[in-house]
């Protein structure tokens, strides 16, 4: 065993002494399908369609403020 091997062995022992083996229960579920599902989900964006909707609603309530009461009735 040369000097490098001894050094590596020393580091290995130190790491093992600091990180005890995991004795907890095994994971019961497969997480990979969930990861794939998350990757498939498209990110939420505020696009032109949503901007138009929000703008139209704001303009309508600015022009016809009496509709605001009726809108509050439904929220």
């Amino acid at each position: 065993m040369n000097h490098d091997d001894r050094e590596l062995e020393f580091i290995r022992k130190q790491l093992r002494s600091r990180l005890p083996p995991w004795n907890g229960p095994e994971l019961q579920v497969d997480l990979w399908p969930r990861v794939l599902r998350r990757l498939e989900e498209s990110p939420v964006t505020f696009g032109w369609f949503e901007s138009i909707l929000a703008g139209l609603a704001a303009v309508t309530f600015a022009i016809f403020p009496e509709l605001l009461t009726a809108m509050l009735y439904h929220l």
Binding site: R34, V44, F46, E50, L53, A54, L56, A57, T60, F61, F64, E66, L67, T69, A70, M71, L72, Y73, H74, L75
Partner: protein, 135 residues
Amino acid sequence: MKSHPYLRAYMAGVLLPSWFLLLVLAAYLLIHFTGRGPAGMGSAIVFPMAIVPNLWGLWNLLYTSLGLRRRVSIGAFGSLLPLILVPAGVELASVLDLSFYTLRQAAAILPMAMAIYYLAWKYAVAFFNRVVEPR
């Protein structure tokens, strides 16, 4: 966190209108104490307090239980809810004899309600669903 999926869906749906109810109540109190509100406002508060949040919860429960997530966007599904809520509101207003909410106003508010509901469901309810779904 895998249990009670329908209860979680219902709660995720109820949350936003319940928060918004505070604003509605504040507006109601302001109108009530300034005395400038239309007649029958006290009776009208029943609708946003009792019916709207529960219908949001049930609508989200329906969206989850029917497995529509992959077929219909939650925003589009949520925008259909005013098609039930607005006629129900008109009916309740006529039963309670509320003068401030007429059929003409309901017709005018319907597209606006659908647009606002689309945004609310797409961003808020979808976020709440993601928070409560099992990880």
